[in-house]
């Protein structure tokens, strides 16, 4: 049963006259691991800051376990935040940083010592009590920041791109550890990131946002496999997004060729967007697939080759373990299962983000 711990209702917020959130609703269940995913400026951090109490919404209300906390200051809320970076107090050592919240709550020194020890063990920093915070690496600092939040036993932990400042390898390591920590402490995690890989890796539920509007919510699998609009398809993973015409149920016309597919309910002869993931396209001999085109580039990416094949005016991106020589005519084929049909965007927030 869905047991909501946090509810945001009709939240609206503008900064400098620019509307960041407009009538935004969100429900988060107890013990869920929810990720807010979107490009920078999409309003995801603002939501976190509204829940944390650092930003007051222009209108709308925030409920925590059914209680209205919209006007409550941050220190009165039973949530804690792990900030992007550099949020440790530089004049205190690791132990003093972690103990800070407990000291304010006037806990006994025995209790504090045990809690700090437990938290440091949880984030793999046993024995770091007396270390100077400034002597720690970026990854270690973020571990301390997580420990510092967790010792207060919050009901909800808010994480604002906590791994954003770390290098790739460390980020992967910390992602795995976060899942472990989540399992161990068993509280609600609300995680904000613009990194789709981070989001796919560990969330119970991903909420994809653009321009302050939720584009799609669901588990990793459904978001990757069944994007509901061009924005989501483009933002999550690599994809070929091309215009198509839904001839009838189970048949879509792309570049003048009819493809069998598995989607229904898009009407007859309706323009649609078609999403095909590069790893789902298969290169075959010229003339054998649905489409025929010329290989125009090939890049070795380690585990696979990224091949571009030009068919008429469109360049298809294909990921394949077998190389294909540039200039050669090849055929392209695809499983009906792997063709994803979407409605044309109704609003600009549903469109692909273009780099200008």
């Amino acid at each position: 049963m869905f047991d909501p711990i946090l509810q945001l209702e009709h939240i609206t917020k503008s900064f400098d006259g620019k509307k960041i959130l407009n009538d935004f609703d969100l429900e988060i269940g107890r013990n869920e691991f929810v990720t807010l995913l979107g490009p920078s400026g999409c309003g995801k951090s603002t939501i976190l800051r509204i829940i944390g109490g650092f930003v007051r919404p222009d209108s709308g209300r925030v409920f925590f376990e059914g209680q209205d906390i919209t006007m409550l200051p941050p220190e009165k809320r039973n949530v804690n935040t792990v900030f992007q970076k550099y949020s440790l107090c530089p004049h205190k050592n690791v132990e003093e940083n972690i103990a800070f919240g407990l000291k304010l709550k006037k806990k006994s020194s025995d209790y504090i010592r045990d809690k700090v020890k437990y938290a440091l063990k949880l984030v793999n920093l046993d024995g770091f009590e007396k270390r100077d915070t400034l002597s720690l690496s970026g990854g270690q600092q973020q571990r301390v920041a997580i420990a510092r939040a967790i010792v207060n036993e919050p009901e909800v932990l808010l994480l604002d791109e906590p791994l954003g400042a770390l290098d790739l390898k460390l980020r992967h390591e910390m992602q795995r550890e976060l899942i472990k920590i989540k399992k161990e402490v068993g509280i609600t995690f609300l995680y904000v990131t613009h990194d789709q890989e981070e989001a796919l890796m560990r969330s119970d539920r991903i909420i994809v946002m653009n321009k302050g509007i939720i584009q799609q919510a669901g588990d990793s699998q459904s978001i990757y496999d069944e994007p509901q609009n061009a924005f989501v398809a483009d933002f999550i993973g690599e994809s070929n997004i091309i215009d198509g015409i839904m001839v009838k149920d189970l048949l879509v016309n792309i570049q003048g060729v009819d493809f069998p597919c598995v989607d229904t309910g898009f009407g007859e002869n309706n323009p649609v967007d078609v999403v095909i993931r590069p790893e789902d396209l298969e290169i075959v001999k010229a003339g054998e697939g649905y489409l025929t085109g010329q290989v125009i580039s090939i890049i070795f990416k380690g585990a696979y080759y990224e091949i571009k094949v030009k068919v008429n005016d469109y360049e298809w991106m294909i990921q394949s373990v077998d190389p294909a020589p540039i200039g050669e005519l090849v055929g392209l084929t695809i499983d009906p299962d792997n063709i994803q049909i979407m409605h044309k965007p109704l609003r600009d927030d549903e469109e692909v983000v273009r780099d200008e």
């Binding site: 400098d16 944390g52 650092f54 200051p73 935040t81 550099y86 107090c89 530089p90 970026g138 510092r148």
Partner: protein, 267 residues
Amino acid sequence: MKRLKDFASGIYIGLIGLFLYAPILVLIILSFNKSRSRVKWGGFTFDWYVKLFANKQIKEALITTVILALASAAIAVLIGVPGALGIHAMSKRRYKVMMAFTNIPMLNADIVTGIALMLWFVHFIPLGFGSVLLAHITFNIPYVILSVMPRIQQMNISVYEATRDLGAGPVYGFFKVLLPEMMPGIISGFFMAFTMSMDDFVITYFTKGAGVNTLSTMIYGQIRKGIKPEMYALSTLIFLAVSAILLISNGISAARKAPKQNDEERI
């Protein structure tokens, strides 16, 4: 080529030194000159300094100047720092408007400020120490705001927010996190305000009324009767005091910067 460059820059420095500091050096030398002449050296003496300290009028002016500078700088800090925080929190457009209003009094001619304040004060309060103090606070506030604002903009707000997040109230957060972060700006703002107040003649002259004298207005009054060598001695002391303040405040900000740079390397 390098020698030519060194030579040229040496000459440049030399010229700057000559034009800026040679006159002050002459003043300092004359303050120890036994002869009253401004061109002849009559031997070394401390007489003018002794006479200076025996002069009751000068002593009073000195005390007034220091109290005025300290009080106006301190009050300007108390008003300017919260003001800067408030302006910083404004929207971009209002921020720009407020900062423009902050800059105008600094660029405005002293004579305009002085006369305007005088006209304003005579309606409400008797001209005297109180009116001079108010005037000095008025022109000091912009200096405090301008030196605190860059610190506020660079401030890492995450530490403050984390403190609040962990259960500390706004008062605790302000005094334990925000204030220490702003301190270098506050100190330099205080010293700037202090020296501006010590330095001012025009505005003080218009707002002081009868009976109150700061060093600058007093020296002006004395000079009308002819320049006495005591004035050289007094000017020398003022120059040394201002230089000392400058060195101390630079030393403080350098000492605060040094460990900060280390931090960034370690991160």
